[in-house]
Symmetry: C2
Subunit: 433 residues, 2 copies
Amino acid sequence: MAKQNIAAHKSWLPDANHPTTDFPLTHLPYGAVAVEDQQHLCVAIGSHLLDLHACAASGLLPAALTEACQAPTLNLLMSQGSQSWALLRKTLTTLLHADVKPEHKEKAEAALHSIAGSTFQKPVHIPNYTDFYASIHHATRVGQLFRPDQPLLPNYKHIPIGYHGRASSILVSGEPIVRPIGQTRPSAEEIQPNFIPTSKLDYELELALYIGKPSTQGTPVPISHAADHLFGISLLNDWSARDIQSWEYQPLGPFLAKNFATTVSPWVTPIAALEPFRVPAASRLATDPKPLSYLHSAADQKSGGLDVALEVFLLTATMKANKLEPFPLSQSNARDLYWTPAQLTTHHTSNGCNLQAGDILATGTISGPAEASAGCLLELTRNGAQPILLPTAETRTFLEDGDEIILRGSCESPGHHRIGLGECRATIHSART
Amino acid sequence: MAKQNIAAHKSWLPDANHPTTDFPLTHLPYGAVAVEDQQHLCVAIGSHLLDLHACAASGLLPAALTEACQAPTLNLLMSQGSQSWALLRKTLTTLLHADVKPEHKEKAEAALHSIAGSTFQKPVHIPNYTDFYASIHHATRVGQLFRPDQPLLPNYKHIPIGYHGRASSILVSGEPIVRPIGQTRPSAEEIQPNFIPTSKLDYELELALYIGKPSTQGTPVPISHAADHLFGISLLNDWSARDIQSWEYQPLGPFLAKNFATTVSPWVTPIAALEPFRVPAASRLATDPKPLSYLHSAADQKSGGLDVALEVFLLTATMKANKLEPFPLSQSNARDLYWTPAQLTTHHTSNGCNLQAGDILATGTISGPAEASAGCLLELTRNGAQPILLPTAETRTFLEDGDEIILRGSCESPGHHRIGLGECRATIHSART
């Protein structure tokens, strides 16, 4: 049964059938590649990309999807809703399947390019970026650092906590991160705050949930319909300057500590590719409150979680110079999130707030129950108190100039092809003083 | 001297010369009007609007500005920078001046329409919306309600506090506000929060600062250059559900309490029209810290403030039925803000965050030092403890269904035409339960 399932999804591209590829035929994540002075949409297959603009031009795609597939970003496709998404996915699956018609294969081959030599750009125009706080393990451990007597605030288990991030400064994997300068809290001896490059630059391991079908202002999305609005996911690194954050965030939340840059991975995994990796919502303690009825559906509790294994790696300049492999900082899994993607979507619209095609709802830092599964350095080093020792004998409390952070994610389930989310990576450049 | 100045700015439209008009020749605010199924940019003059799309079509505007003036929103003009803004303003001033060439006047008359019969739309595509907290009087009085021992947090006088609002749900004056539903804090006897229509719906009297010229990610805007990026201002009402806010805002700030709707006025006053109304930055107490050097310039301290008188009116359904005038709730002035527009702009970019053409930087609630100059009901009624008695014998702690809130603003200075910002108004509709 399991082998049959895998055999049924064989591509005519040999390396798409290799068990370790991120991009088998069952995945087909969307990206955007630079082609001369244009940006073309594409899907990844094995070690190649298939140029959708070229496919549409050679008549391989349904006419109704031509405009969406020849646009520079996914937004038009996203806004068209799940029937269009399913039609395109079915067409591309047939086109890249081992049983493809020879005349179609020939045309598709002309639209194939190696991923290795390509430059990827942001595949989505992101109108709005919301960042949630959906990992109870992250919220608890951060709370322990700053409020040891009450690590988890009274609202946490009732309401998905979130805030608005900055959409303008979202970058795609590979673009450098310039260390931000900002105000930090004056010490007891100082009268004025300092205005200096952050010395507590951190990453945050997150998933981006991309909204497809928009919602109407004034009309909440019931939890039973939330899935209709979710187009796909990618990796997201919510860079954070902890010293700036701790000084500025009272009483209105994080601002300059976060909005200098956020990095997304270049590939958007369609939600349909994640169906085999759906799991129950994370189990709550018997003493936990039940979600309020607007946040509860039996179907969501049964299969609203996503089993996405996540990893963070650090590659310092010294490690690069010595050709060492990236050092694994931690592993966690999106299945441990306290709130499901559907709950986040429904909560966001419950007051009538409208969602737009291309919006990102980020999960917040994804940490697991174990200390080694923390999704940021604030947790891993206990706000700098416990430095990490690297194989080069270097130590890290927070990020140094030249450090590269690499996020990876993947899904595995018996009887199904493994899929990988690709990489979300960026290197820290020194502050411009 | 004063009379000469006013006489020099005489328009051939008689009502533009009336001393009480909001829209004399020295103002020329930009708007967007519905024309069949299109949206045309326009300027207000007296009781009329001048359609810029039509003006460009009849050759009245410089060719270099045609595309920007025939676009549905101001964003292209905004992004072109201050030389383009000055060129257009000079052209329109000449066109509407009493000394206009007769052949130009004839063409302009064909592009004139009455404001009264027109439908106005959002004149700007707003990519990002930031809300500051720049009134120390607001921050102090809100702090007194919730932290009587420490009303003003230690960071307030050092750093302009701000957070990201929701850009997708910004409406233009006249569009209804649907009362939001949300979670509110459980009482001591309750186990679960309530999920009900807010019973503490409030307005916030603010100014929107519209960014014109964008800034580059990674490159802060020095305070000496901040003025180059500011295109204009309008009125803004940051609707707030205080009961939702108090339950959700820890630890990441306001979210659903604010993002259901924000209202902007239809007219964007160009910053050039505000030059006669520039005033020194609000004076600080001798014991206050000096702004850090990146937030300080002598020119900004001397003339970085804006003397904009602001008013809030309430019109209940009963008052409407009895044809009563709107009831004045409070008056304040933007000159009392602790931080200037240039300081807000520079601070926002100081960490490398980029600004985009059309972004709004809102001031936060503008309250004055007197209790009667509070810019929201939270302050005016002390969180509902002191109801307001209306001429109809109705009382209000927070807003009821059917209530209309009207914001107005104006600038006056000896020897100059008065200008008015128009109105920002909206009526509360009942929750959709």
